[in-house]
Subunit: 307 residues, 4 copies
């Protein structure tokens, strides 16, 4: 019977832990979070073949388990949880597999992985996309930085929590790939909103223009499944006043990571940097932090705000 | 038997006219271009059932024909050809259908269409995408601004020259839609090159990163069929030193139109404006005007230039 | 006695014409504007030694005068007034000096000057800075494109209407220099507002930070005489709710000219293009077209709007 | 007799320490740098009334002195030197005055100052402008974050090393003010180069255009004392092939700090972000890291590179 230590049971981690339990694969799980009630929301999901225990410390959650999975807010937490005194590396067994699903800067990811490797441990950086909806439904995409053998060991657990697993490269590559993807997403979402705004202000119907661009060289994920213009795509956040979805506050956080990554490699990212600042202006002027990120349409079409 | 007057036989127009002849639909065609040799390249393509005649003036090309098709470099040419003394409107018959396939600013397109309407004539603005390759193979996409009945009258001819016909709206809407699409294309192409540059400079393989983003929320037309990074996609311009394809000089021309359109409607287009200026820097620094527009990768990955 | 034909008596031109009269230099003046009441506002300012007559056409205003001075809204008006049938060139005498003070694109300025030269006439493009306040007080700055002898002939009149005369170069150079200056002004004004916003959001006092930057390498005209942060500089538009001054609508018009000029020379102007689009966003989101252009501070410090 | 512990004797710190000695104010100085030879360059400058001693540790440099002055490359060094085991705070006496002249992020500056305050010590963040030339000639500008009494205690030393002292506010404010100033400097320097490039490409003489803008609303520090166009201003780096001065590598470092500061306060800094990325493109394409930052002119005027 495999034992799992799960650390970090917030919006994402809670769903992921419960999906592991629901798989009924006979996992034994020890969970830890600084917020007691979050642990209860998982322990109460225990099944006939699964045993889940709340713990009072990282040491307690990690001691003797086969696999450690973590889902934490930022690089500093990952560093503290893994490298701090009484942290994961201090307590993990010699064969423990370490899977960190947090989205953090690649430098920290590599630093922590290297420390794990020094102790002979396989560690993956496995940030996800798919949001809380994907976490709940078990359809997350994992973008993994790890050695191939580490990834193969982890695959069974990842496939319970998600629908897709990409291997981006060695340690840190998962973070880099996710950051690049999300920077590009910000650029084409804002670019799509900009093109739609320009078209509408010149007399076009947003649905007609969307359809033309979708089938032409302007085509992109935003137009396909996440149209930012209200009324064009049923079910998209734009058609429910931008409630829910992927929040502006989270997109700007990912863009912060992209900028930090570019700073590290002295790369030029002019479009990513501008997209980030347009999101900042949107955040401030339209009080948009808690809206879905496709609400950037408001920056281009301020009249939509008043409806 | 339908008679067609075709004006403008350059890189695009010549192929389009020859495709109309090759359709063997029994069209009678009168062609006009200021360059004599361009007319010969079409008249020599005459077939058993098709008669094609070179003419010495717009009046001569237009007099008595059922349909006028034009393909001209810029708005000022369209204005002169249609509205000038001795131009199309002075010579067209009462039922002549007018199809302008040039890519020009919407204001001029609307002005010319309105003048045609005043004379009781149907006129379409029908700019194309697909480039010279699409023109040659008859697989162009037409993006049409016109009244529905005008579009239906034109459809048989458009379908000989192209594979797709979109109806964007009334007069000028074809130009607006094409301009919006190409501005978005410039943004996501440059954004894709930027994301790939950032990934590679942080240790990722460009093909692996491309594959991940293509299947994720970063997905767009560039990643699908026109990857800008050399070696990732066989057959893409990036894999033949950016020769051929859609030239930087043409992309910047389309971005000029986008900026002029935004100026007319006082729209904000920050990403489009930045993309245009990045293309300008690329054009000047890398002598890139005659390279395919995906060569913007060089701006982000200057080392690639030396290979 | 010198006779002057003055065309265009709007916000700027009216003040300029009245200052010429007030100089009591014995000028005889014939004025023309399409708005009758604007002519009256000048004719009523006639003095003992000066005679001013309203006219009903350009021909009437220009016939027989020594000097023509014009102040018009845009390039198309200048073209029509000078080159149109019955326009200035059709009616000017063989030695008439032509001074156009409008701010327009350099291409049109050069085209009109060349036509004047073909008729043997000296013509200046002499756009101004200083706004309506400078026009009223006779302290405008003239930025002149002309041959040296043309400028010397014009100098006495310019010095009545203004305090500074710069010679930028030959025909069109006055327009280019003004456009470059105003693009740089937009960039450093928005840049100053951005730096002040960043400082204040990090706890600094805007007056203290302004003083430090003014005396350091951040120093610029905005900080010296036109501080955009409310309360820092008495008398600046920022301290009277951005009423009056140089309107956002006029700054975006000048930035449109800068972008068109850059398009003509295929120059890259990334900062100018971004500044223009930030002004557009400000215009739309803050209904700011009729506010002074230093109100761009609101884009960075939205809290200031509510005060 | 006042005793000073000086830590960090690089390009800047070495000159500053030697100026303190040269003041012949009878200072007793203990110096520390990890590079032995840098200490010798200072100890050899000892004068009749001044005693300077090289030390082997921070503890040794700091123990018993009245004033500690430090000049270090980055925030992490400041943190380590002041807060690390065996660092300044562990060894400073109860009345020691602490002056850190490094340019670092405000967050670290505030963290270190707060720790000093907890021990009852006055600490200043006192970043400088003026470069190595200013350091050598003793004409630096200090931008100080500190309580007023701390600043007054420090003033005599600052006035030996520099010509100007600004009080920006309490702890950290010195860093914020310097960062804001340098971001604005980057924007107006690049903006000036952009305006000059546009003017020259439209036929203007760069010196004439510079003079006009300097005296008009485009006026800024770059035009006054640091013109980026070669040949316009004798003595400016542009007129000596951009050798010496304030390096592109240092400007991008300061812009990194500005972006980090904006991230902390969630401020929008679109122009600063674009200027940073233009500097990055320039750095990569023109191998410009070791050139003066006014060499950004090359990005706009690539022909200048070949001369």
């Amino acid at each position: 019977m495999t034992s799992i230590g799960f650390i970090g049971l917030g919006n994402m981690g809670g769903h992921m832990a419960r999906n592991l339990l629901a798989a009924d694969a006979g996992y034994q799980m020890r969970v830890f979070d600084v917020v007691e009630s979050l642990m209860e929301s998982v322990t109460s999901a225990s099944t006939s073949t699964t045993m889940v225990t709340a713990t009072q410390s990282i040491a307690d959650a990690v001691a003797g388990v086969d696999v450690v999975i973590s889902m934490l807010p930022a690089g500093k937490h990952v560093k503290e949880v893994y490298l701090g005194a009484g942290g994961v590396l201090d307590n993990a067994g010699v064969d423990t597999l370490l899977i960190d699903c947090s989205t953090i800067d690649p430098t920290t990811a590599r630093e922590v992985s290297a420390a794990a490797k020094d102790k002979g441990l396989d560690m993956l950086d496995a940030p996800v996309s798919g949001g809380t909806a994907g976490a709940e439904s078990g359809t997350l995409t994992f973008i993994v930085g790890a050695d191939p053998q580490g990834l193969e060991r982890a695959r069974p657990y990842l496939e319970v929590m998600g629908a897709n697993v990409f291997h981006a490269g060695s340690s840190g590559a998962g973070q880099v790939a996710k950051i690049c993807n999300n920077m590009l997403l910000a650029v084409h979402m804002a670019g799509t909103a900009e093109a739609l705004g320009l078209g509408v202000e010149n007399g076009l119907d947003p649905a007609t223009l969307s359809e033309i661009m979708k089938q032409s060289s302007g085509g992109n994920w935003s137009l396909n499944v996440y149209n930012p213009y209200p009324g064009v795509m049923q079910g998209a956040p734009a058609s429910r006043a931008y409630q829910g979805g992927f929040l502006v506050d989270l997109m700007t956080k990912d863009l912060d990571l992209a900028m930090a990554t570019a700073e590290g490699s002295r790369s030029s990212v002019p479009l990513g940097a501008l997209a980030k600042n347009l999101y900042r202006i949107h955040q401030q002027h339209n009080d948009a932090g808690r809206l879905d990120f496709s609400s950037i349409q408001w920056l281009y079409s301020p009249d939509l705000k008043e409806r």
